[in-house]
């Protein structure tokens, strides 16, 4: 028998995502997938899943969902700037912290809290067993594919996962957090559509994340970036990818994210490197950032380092007895 979790309240901005959908971009189908794949991997391994291939989990972007276990026990884990409240079937109410798995039994209700910004993940042991569509479970609402019925989490959704044996050890790890250095980019593909001065401005001034952001992209605000001519603010559409930084006629950059279209008609001054894509997902509205240009080789090195950094984190996962209460140090520290 499979484990089952029913959605009692949808929350806001929650969807089923995995590593994404590849091989269909020539049909206009975006990759989708987790905005912060490394953080999703943290949640997955804490829940007891293999890091690769990435299991489908629930991405939380604003208000977490309220879930009830209808067939347990199931193991879940939260990763990110998020917490939850457990209303146990037996009547107790407990605070649930991230970075540690918890085993829920039939009748338990888990109310996931509200995120202050960025994204967080809730992983289920065995992964969310929703239908694979075009090779992925990632939700892509524009084409109504993935997730459950092509939609984000809604009330009444039933999330199948794996039953776990009760009274096993839980898994706990320190917080996974990325650096605050400038966001690294590879310049281009249309850097020659911008004045030389615009490149200096782009790499030398602060840009603020506005509240105009979703899974498709985020608009930034800062010193405008001048094109070499009015005509240079448009191109005959060409391929885009998550991380590409489009600059329309108003000179304000837009960074594309996981659900971005496959082609676009604005020139791209630069593209955020893969190692730093997870950091984009964790930026809060109103936060400012800087960009730094790197070469292709440096980008590759950064990606290998990021991977090694994650492996080092994973080695710090420890088994703890299931009845262990909160650790000495509060897990959600104030320096978030």
């Amino acid at each position: 028998m499979a484990g089952m979790i029913e959605v009692l309240a949808a929350g806001i901005g929650n969807s089923i995502q995995d590593r994404g959908r590849f091989g269909f971009r020539h049909m206009g189908i975006t990759v989708s997938g987790c905005l912060d794949p490394l953080l999703a991997r943290c949640a997955n391994v804490l829940a007891g899943n293999a890091p690769e291939p990435d299991c489908a989990c629930i991405e939380i972007r604003a208000v977490g969902p309220k879930l009830q276990v209808t067939s347990g026990p199931v193991r879940v884990a939260l990763a990110g700037e998020i917490s939850a409240t457990l209303h146990a079937a037996g009547g107790d109410t407990l605070a649930v912290a991230p970075w540690k798995s918890i085993t829920l039994t039939t009748g338990d209700v888990l109310a996931v809290a509200t995120l202050p910004g960025g994204v967080a993940y809730l992983a289920l042991a065995g992964g969310v067993d929703s239908p694979l569509q075009l090779g992925s479970r990632s939700t892509y609402e524009r084409a109504l594919i993935g997730g459950i019925g092509g939609r984000g989490i809604v009330v009444g959704n039933r999330l199948a996962c794996r039953i776990v044996a009760g009274a096993q050890d839980e898994r706990q790890a320190p917080r996974w957090r990325l650096d605050d250095d400038p966001i690294r980019v590879v310049l281009g593909p249309q850097r020659n559509h911008f004045k030389h001065q615009a490149l200096a401005v782009f790499l030398g001034s602060d840009y603020v994340v506005t509240n105009q952001r979703d899974r498709m992209g985020m608009r930034l605000e800062g010193q405008p970036l001048a094109h070499i001519s009015a005509a240079a603010a448009d191109i005959v559409s060409d391929g885009v990818t998550p991380g590409a930084i489009q600059v329309p006629g108003n000179g304000q950059p837009i960074i594309l994210l996981a659900d971005c279209q496959t082609v676009g008609g604005y020139p791209k001054i630069a593209t955020v490197i893969r190692a730093d894509l997870p950091r984009l997902a964790q930026l809060h509205s109103g936060q400012s950032l800087r960009f730094a240009a790197v070469s292709g080789d440096q980008a590759r090195q950064a990606l290998l380092e990021r991977e090694a950094q994650w492996q080092a984190w994973a080695r710090r996962i420890v088994a703890v007895a299931p009845d262990t209460t909160a650790p000495d140090e509060p897990i959600i520290s104030s320096n978030w």
């Binding site: 971009r25 049909m27 206009g28 084409a143 594919i145 281009g188 060409d238 391929g239 990818t241 893969r274």
Partner: protein, 266 residues
């Protein structure tokens, strides 16, 4: 890049789209000759990828790291897994391939797609007819005589950007886009023609509607009906035929292959 290439066409350029994609660009305009080079390169790339496996040597390993290939009007973007290959080496191999791939002479699949031009499906047909001093019937006849070429799929899943609109029918976008264009609307903008696969906001001018879905996730191999390089002709149908096909689609009894035309001389 002053090396040998076919028919003294301008050399391709290799543009970095971050550290996980290269755009191989053949020109900066919408032009059938440029697109023929895109298709030629796409075909050459498909050939080398079809035999590539990571076990069969360095270059094969590069091709096996490719995850997505996206042809556009004037370029081809190759997305790859940067942990599975050296991006710089892949870029060099792509550029070398582009210098010898030439232009395609192969004609893509040919489709004849039914369209109903009833007034409620074609809210902009009268305006277009007035602007061009033609009757709506003459506009429909011109549309159905023309052969359209699919340049690329984009904007939304399955949305085909097609060239081949008769020059006399060109018309700019609406100055104020509609909030909701009905799904499967046949539309034109400038020299382009398209069918909206989904209901969506849009500023293109609506001239008819097809009962045939442009995108169907149930077709797991190829959810998008059309692909870059395909040729399309429109066939005018009346409301009864439209409703029959629509009902067949809804019942899962419609075979999209019935729309593939026999090869015809061009």
């Amino acid at each position: 890049m002053a090396t040998a290439h076919h028919r003294s066409a301008p050399p391709a350029s290799l543009l970095p789209l971050g550290d996980a994609a290269w755009t191989v660009e053949f020109g900066d305009s919408i032009d059938a000759a440029v697109h023929a080079r895109v298709l030629g390169f796409a075909a050459a790339l498909e050939r080398v990828r079809s035999v590539a496996s990571p076990a069969t040597g360095d270059e094969a390993g590069l091709w096996a790291a490719i995850v997505d290939v996206v042809p556009t009007f004037r370029s081809l973007t190759v997305h790859y897994d940067p942990l599975r290959c050296n991006g710089g080496a892949l870029g060099a191999a792509l550029l070398a391939l582009a210098e010898t791939s030439g232009s395609t002479t192969r004609v893509g699949r040919q489709w004849t797609i039914p369209v109903c031009f009833d007034a409620d499906f074609a809210p902009d047909l009268d305006d277009l007819a007035k602007a061009k001093a033609l009757s709506p019937e003459a506009i429909i006849a011109l549309l159905c005589q023309a052969t359209f070429q699919v340049y690329m799929i984009g904007f939304m899943p399955g949305f085909p950007y097609m060239g081949g609109l008769p020059a006399g029918l060109e018309m700019p976008r609406l100055s104020s886009p509609r909030k909701a264009v009905p799904a499967r609307s046949l539309a034109i903008a400038g020299a382009m023609c398209a069918v909206y696969p989904w209901q969506s906001p849009g500023g293109w001018r609506l001239l008819g509607r097809t009962p045939v879905p442009m995108f169907s996730a149930a077709e797991a191999e190829s959810p998008a009906l059309l692909a870059s390089g395909d040729r399309v002709r429109w066939q005018a149908i009346d409301r009864r035929e439209y409703l029959e096909i629509e009902a067949a689609v809804a019942a899962g009894a419609f075979d999209r292959r019935s729309l593939m035309a026999m090869a015809r001389d061009t």
